[in-house]
């Protein structure tokens, strides 16, 4: 049986960041990767997808974007190359094509069973990604079988769909971008809108992510926010990374002819039914955006930046038409479920999961000593699931892991002697 000190599950941004931290601390480890490095970026992203964050905001432990387009947004295929280069830069010990089957606690650590044979180790870091298992509502089962249904991880480009109408469910980054792209391809598109986080692409001449980074919002810690459960559940930012730096909000989508409706709430008599809560979700998103922009204005004024910045021109409120509350399935041929993700941990003991199947952890430290989780939304910081945000978490958790190894070897010595 092969033995190592730390098994990292997954070789994406989180796994590689942890690998780099462990390499720097000379801790023997291996990354078990179901596919290849950066597998999700490589195989589960649509063709036109670009990062929501500008290139300069792409920093990992010992690695950063060094290209010429600091303010641009990296395409998914470039992210794959970026992470592959990161892996090569410190020769990360990635075992590709290795799917973890189970993780079992042993007296001296863990036994990790894989489809390529077992590993014995002292610690396990789960870094399997936050965006690989779509969360699709139970409602999907009630949709007539002649309608094609897919999640964003299966979507590539409009040519993959037939030319009929499309219902896109979910107005966060994925749903808004896919609805926009399908509408531009000439299709009739309806977008079902629930809770969403509205943001302008840039404000007062600066990228919104520059602002969130600068005012410290992305660094907010898990033990400082009022309600961490809620913070971890927040939908992704309604943004698009495009060369023209455009804002993709509901007003822009409505302007290009996307039909906006409320949350997809039911199926009845061959019709999709939409919630009447549309206006409130829009009002709440506008208010929340306004509060962030207030914080930014306050910061700018406190730091004497006003002279360098453009006018504080606020985005128009979301125009709320009287949305239709029903859509006959005969009007569409495809549904895209852009309803978020629910990471799955089939290899973990159910004792380590909550009643919804999510890993129980305190800032990435799991209940079983020596087990860690990395890269989930708000693991330790608001930016934890961002490419730029996982690095500080990996540094923190690798420090915790080293302390764990030291405390275990100290406490174990007398026992082994006895």
């Amino acid at each position: 049986m092969r033995t190592t000190t730390v098994v990292i599950v997954g070789a994406g941004q989180a796994g590689l960041a942890m690998s780099r931290c462990l390499t720097d601390r000379s801790i023997d480890h291996v990354l078990l990767e179901r596919g290849e490095t950066a597998n999700s970026w490589r195989t589960e992203r649509w063709d036109s997808l670009r990062l929501l964050t500008p290139n300069w905001l792409t920093r990992l432990p010992g690695w950063r974007y060094t290209g010429d387009d600091q303010d641009g947004y990296m395409a998914a295929r470039d992210v794959t190359e970026f992470l592959d280069a990161y892996r090569r830069s410190f020769d990360a010990p990635v075992e590709s094509g290795t799917t973890v089957v189970s993780v079992t606690a042993r007296s001296d650590g863990y036994l990790v069973e894989t489809d390529q044979g077992p590993w014995r180790c002292r610690c396990v870091v789960v870094a399997a990604g936050a965006c690989s298992s779509p969360k699709i509502p139970a409602l999907a089962a009630a949709v007539p079988s002649d309608i094609a249904q897919l999640a964003p991880i299966d979507y590539r480009n409009p040519s993959q769909l037939d030319s009929g109408g499309v219902l896109v469910v979910g107005a966060s980054a994925s749903g808004a971008q896919i609805a926009d792209e399908l509408r531009r391809s000439g299709r009739d598109v309806t977008l079902a809108v629930g809770d969403h986080v509205r943001l302008p692409r840039s404000y007062r001449g600066m990228d919104i992510h520059w602002w969130m980074d600068t005012i410290g919002q992305l660094d907010e810690r898990y033990d400082e926010v009022e309600d961490i459960t809620r913070a971890r559940r927040l939908p992704s930012l309604q943004l698009i990374g495009s060369p023209e730096r455009r804002t993709l909000d509901l007003n822009a989508l409505a302007g290009s002819g996307v039909g906006l409706v409320g949350r997809f709430a039911g199926v009845s008599s061959a019709k999709a039914q939409f919630s009447g809560s549309f206006a409130n979700f829009c009002a709440a998103a506008d208010l929340k955006q306004g509060r962030l922009l207030d914080l930014i204005d306050e910061f700018a004024s406190d730091h004497g930046l006003d002279a360098e910045l453009t006018e504080a021109d606020r985005p128009e409120p979301t125009a709320i038409p009287a949305p239709r509350t029903e859509l006959a399935f005969s009007e569409i041929t495809t549904i895209v479920w852009a309803t978020g993700f629910r990471p799955q941990f089939p290899y973990l003991d159910s004792d380590l999961l909550d009643h919804k199947g999510a890993v129980r952890h305190d800032g990435g430290v799991m209940e079983q000593p020596g087990m860690y989780v990395l890269g989930l939304p708000f693991t330790r910081r608001r930016k934890s699931s961002f490419l730029d945000g996982v690095g500080p978490d990996a540094l923190d958790l690798s420090g915790h892991l080293v302390q764990h190894l030291e405390s275990v070897s100290t406490s174990r010595r007398p026992k082994m002697a006895g």
Partner: protein
């Protein structure tokens, strides 16, 4: 989380008790399972009397401090005796009561003193639905508009945020805006 920003706020809502219940039910989910009940009896014509008293929650049978009976009927324009609100108006009463209670609760939690809260509701209905004149017209309300006038020690944006949060956490708003499975049996 359990501290209130402004202890001088007096809206008459015991937020500490609600937060305590939230915390207790987070750890004991079956306690959060409630059942609401009503008993209805036909009186005469379109007049019915509906009574509520018992309900189930926190793992046990519960009771209002007394039985409450509400008469519903239809106005004289429908050749009825007008012994009470119409049932659709009762839905509006439920919606207004629920949103307003939510506003008081959320405002208190956020340390906002309310001075007055008034709402008007308008709900459009095309009678061609219930009278069977046009099968394409629904029976229920086509559109409901609730307009709040709120005087509170807070900014307009803060007041709007309280009203938005109240909708987000309202049982009646959810029931009215989202499909609900209804089973009607004859025993």
């Amino acid at each position: 989380m359990t501290t209130i920003e402004n202890p001088t706020v007096e809206n008459g809502v015991n937020v500490e008790a609600l937060l305590g219940a939230r915390e207790a039910m987070t750890g004991a989910r079956p306690a959060a399972q409630f059942q609401w009940r009503a008993g209805c009896e036909w009186v005469h014509g379109t007049h019915a009397a509906t009574t509520v008293q018992s309900f189930f929650g926190v793992g046990a049978e519960q009771s209002h401090r007394q039985a409450f009976t509400v008469d519903t009927d239809h106005p004289e324009i429908f050749a009825s005796e007008d012994n009470g609100p119409t049932p659709p108006e009762m839905v509006l009463i439920g919606l207004a009561g629920c949103l307003t209670a939510g506003i008081a609760t959320v405002a208190t939690h956020r340390g906002i003193q309310l001075n007055s809260v008034k709402a008007t509701i308008e709900a459009d209905m095309d009678l061609a639905g219930i009278l069977g004149i046009d099968a394409d017209v629904r029976n229920g309300f086509g559109n409901i508009t609730v307009r709040y006038e709120i005087d509170a020690d807070a900014t307009d944006e803060e007041i709007k945020a309280v009203v938005a949060q109240s909708q987000k956490r309202s049982a009646v708003f959810d029931t009215v805006t989202n499909p609900t499975n209804v089973v009607v049996e004859v025993v």
